[in-house]
């Protein structure tokens, strides 16, 4: 199939066939990462600008590794120590970087919709690397790839996402992505962090953790993002760990062959009990590797045809 998308801004604007095509491409490219010299010339001469207006470790390094494996050149931009601190507008910043020759922007921004705004105003390809509470489409795609590798298909799977759903762009994108591919999604956590509607984005909201975990094929714990709340949404980290943290006992409610996932960074002892660190059900590091493959696929699909 021909991939016609110019931007990857969210999951909602991707059709299931497009998602499948991205995952297929990622699967094929993953092999490159295992070669003795993991580098191909596919994107030689292309310039990928990484615009990070918010701190990030793994997403940023993952995009960097993806671009370098494909031999693209990289502009690295961080808002700190940049002219943004001097008051430059987002549009001016991006126009300047574009003028230096960027072919694609990878954008992480604290404001929801910032990548959409750039995509609309600048004639350059854009990948959203996370915007506010809104979306994190590449994370959702790497989660899909991880589940597909282990489970083969999404149809009929029960996915339980636990934690701060309301303020999580990962959760928003994951719910849409898994639903789109035919899985059922249940969300649970402190009700202060759950969507106000019982059915949000098509996910079933459970106030009892057990209801979400029961017979789940995939259990995904989300990071407690204290920095995002502005006020404490639960009384204490201790209580969170005790009533909403995933431990052996809770995980045993899920199917025996369930997958344990987490987008990272993990607060061990909070979202996940330390006893799960080496649990065979955990695919957390596979998620990280698949992140590189998915991002390679997107770079190839968006830039390769030019």
């Amino acid at each position: 199939m021909e991939f016609r998308k110019k931007h990857i801004l969210d999951i909602a604007s991707l059709a299931p066939e497009e998602i499948t095509f991205i995952l297929d491409t990622a699967e094929a490219l993953k092999e490159v990462l295992e070669r003795p010299i993991p580098k191909v010339p596919t994107l030689r001469g292309k310039i990928v600008a990484h615009l990070f207006f918010e701190p990030s470790t793994r997403t940023r390094l993952s995009f960097e590794r993806a671009a370098k494996t494909l031999s693209a050149d990289i502009f690295n931009f961080t808002a700190r120590m940049s002219s943004v601190e001097k008051g430059e507008s987002l549009l001016d910043t991006v126009l300047n970087i574009k003028a230096m020759g960027a072919d694609l922007f990878v954008i992480r921004h604290p404001n929801a919709g910032a990548p959409h705004f750039i995509a609309e105003n600048i004639k350059t390809r854009v990948i959203n690397a996370g915007d506010g509470f809104n979306a994190h489409p590449t994370q959702a795609l790497l989660d899909l790839l991880t589940v597909r590798e282990k489970k083969g298909d999404f149809k009929g799977l029960k996915v339980a996402i636990i934690g701060d759903i309301r303020h999580s762009r990962v959760a928003h994108s994951d719910i849409v992505a898994f639903r789109k591919m035919g899985a059922e999604v249940f969300v649970s956590g402190p009700a202060t962090m759950l969507p106000p509607e019982r059915e949000a984005l098509g996910a079933r909201v459970c106030y009892q953790l057990e209801e979400a975990l029961k017979d789940a094929d995939v259990v995904m714990a989300l990071r407690v993002q204290k920095e995002r709340h502005g006020r404490a949404l639960f009384p204490s980290v201790r209580e969170y760990a005790r009533y909403f943290g995933i431990n052996q006992e809770r995980l045993s409610l899920a199917k025996e062959d369930c997958l344990l996932m987490h987008p990272g960074p993990i607060n061990w002892g909070v979202e996940l009990s330390p006893e799960l660190e080496n649990d065979p059900r955990s695919v957390i590091l596979t998620q990280v590797t698949n992140g590189v493959a998915v991002r390679m696929a997107l770079l190839v699909l968006l830039l390769g045809g030019e």
Binding site: P190, A191, P196, Q208, R231, L233, P235, Y243
Partner: protein, 425 residues
């Protein structure tokens, strides 16, 4: 041990029962209700001319322990409860230290078990130290035995925080009880704003303050979809807001206290500190609206807000006096006055004082269904008695009803099949 209550008028709104007959209790449970029961080896109690009903439940009392044991202890408070016909009480968290952590909850339950009189259901704080800043650990409190949450004498001042409390409570299915008071209007007030404040030269507490606060809670219940229970409603305006909210399907329940349907602000005239309560006693118009709301279902429960204070806190200038009155032993006769005045039926009274409090707090009780715990109250609706300090079992005597002749009294209080208090010979 088996108990056979013979020949009483048995009223149980949970089963729509109102019949003259016998009630059999065995192994701590209700076994049977029938026009005539014969049971071997049962202790027979003659209930001719008496009412037999599910044990009364007071969903709003203060037991003062830990911290202010000179006013009341869990033992004296639960003795006062069973003497008043109450098989169970929910105790508010404004102890010293406040019940904002599992240790205090466990302490209360331990003391209640030692006293072994009425059942005690601890209500824990919504926010730490009732300060209205940080939520308490709802999960831990529930596991320790708390059945509901309230900051008791204080409203949660921040609507955003109250919203979080209503949301967070969803995980633990804990009822949230609101003390609805707009502090910026009530602060410094001592009596109802109007005649009482003018006559006594004291700063008043306007009725609108209660209404504003109730309206906020109702809107938050609508926003979160989680029920809120309004404590001690005292005003016509408050009643009207609750009625309108219920008509719209917003999940809200409410209680009032006997003093709000028995007294008006006039009880404070002469600087009578035993009539100083929060919210303050209001006008006759409010009193009538409360009666109407009890009859038509707008108000769901009668709770006493039993608040013992020693003479140290009451025998003083009105402005310095503590708020609160004791109510466990006068609630039943005061409610029976409304039955005699045809405001509501006996069955409705039992709903208000037993079935509905159990439902709102999601606790056992409120029913005489077979196999339910045998919490039973037997009372004589006609018996006349005078409220005196000696007649009351509470450690404190701060009742505005001292000297009143009452009609109606609990004669037998049975908890889990055991007689905890009896005035029968």
């Amino acid at each position: 041990m088996k108990l056979l209550l013979k020949g009483g008028r048995i009223i149980d709104p949970s089963q729509k029962i109102d019949l003259n007959g016998d009630l059999l209790i065995a192994e701590g449970k209700i076994k049977e209700i029938a026009p005539e029961i014969h049971a071997e080896s049962a202790k027979i109690i003659n209930c001719q001319g008496l009412i037999v009903c599910p044990g009364l439940i007071d969903m709003h009392v203060h037991l003062r322990e830990p911290g202010e044991e000179w006013k009341e202890t869990i033992a004296t408070g639960t003795l006062s409860a069973v003497a008043g016909g109450f098989c169970a009480v929910a105790c508010m968290p404004n102890t010293k230290p406040p019940n904002d952590n599992a240790e205090v909850t466990r302490f209360i339950l331990k003391k209640a078990a030692e006293a072994n009189l009425a059942r005690v259901f601890p209500v824990a704080c919504i926010t730490k130290a009732q300060k209205g800043e940080e939520l308490t650990e709802f999960g831990e409190l529930k596991d320790a035995g708390a059945v509901a949450l309230s900051d008791d004498g204080y409203p949660v001042p921040d609507a955003g925080l109250m919203r979080l409390a209503l949301e967070y409570a969803k995980n633990f299915d804990l009822p949230i009880i609101s003390h609805s008071e707009e502090l910026s209007l009530s602060q410094g007030g001592h009596v109802n704003e109007g005649l009482a404040s003018a006559k006594l030269g004291l700063k008043g507490i306007p009725r609108e303050g209660e209404a504003i606060a109730i309206f906020r809670e109702v809107m938050l219940a609508k926003l979160t979809g989680y029920p809120v229970h309004i404590a001690h409603v005292s005003t016509r305006l408050g009643v009207e807001i609750i009625r309108a909210a219920k008509a719209q399907g917003i999940p809200v329940t409410a209680e009032t206290a006997p003093h709000y349907f028995s007294l008006t602000e006039e009880a404070t005239f002469g600087y009578r500190t035993n009539a100083k309560v929060n919210p303050p006693l209001r006008t006759d118009e409010d009193r009538e609206a409360i009666c109407q709301a009890l009859a038509d279902g707008t108000i769901d429960a009668i709770a006493t807000d039993h608040a013992p204070h020693s003479p140290l806190e009451k025998v003083c200038e009105f402005e310095k006096a503590a708020c609160g009155l004791i109510g466990l032993e006068t609630a039943l006769p005061l409610a029976l006055r409304l039955v005699r005045e045809k405001v509501f039926s006996l069955s409705r009274m039992i709903e208000l004082m037993s079935l509905n409090p159990a439902r709102i707090l999601k606790i056992s009780g409120g029913t005489l269904k077979p196999e339910a715990p045998a919490d039973v109250t037997v009372f004589d609706p006609e018996k006349r008695w005078v409220v005196t300090e000696d007649a009351l079992h509470s450690k404190s005597k701060n009742s505005p009803f001292l000297g009143w002749e009452m009609q109606g009294q609990a004669l037998l209080t049975i908890v889990a099949g055991e007689i905890k208090f009896s005035r029968l010979n």
